[in-house]
Symmetry: C2
Subunit: 78 residues, 2 copies
């Protein structure tokens, strides 16, 4: 069984609502040092699937290619 | 300025609604090989903050320690 880690992030220039909310909340809580927070998705996928299929699945379902980028990493078994 | 990557995942045994939804959708789309999908958060944080502060921020705001685990990694500047 293969394991993959997928990182989904907003494209540059696309507004990141959860990140902006976290930035404001941290400023309100007094964490002045925090300059930027970007919040994306961290997906772990396992199964009898190859990397090409996982990439296809990301494009179709797990990410929105219009506003998001994604990166797939294969997890090596110990 | 320091940069951190934070990975937030549901604790073992806690139901993961977005992951379960993705699993069902992938089965419906014909991706029979996919066995499990777990969806968490991938957060990038930058600022003049140390690791202890980032961990505190995760516990207070970015993760829900009751149902979620988190892992913080420092990003080395190139």
């Amino acid at each position: 069984m293969a394991r993959y880690e997928i990182f989904v992030t907003y494209k540059n220039g696309i507004f990141d609502p959860p990140g902006a909310t976290a930035e404001r909340a941290l400023a309100n809580l007094g964490y002045e040092g925090v300059e930027s927070v970007q919040i994306g998705k961290y997906i772990r996928l396992a199964g009898d699937v190859d990397l090409a299929t996982v990439t296809e699945v990301c494009e179709k379902l797990l990410a929105n290619p219009v506003i998001e980028d994604f990166r797939v990493e294969t997890v090596e078994e110990a």
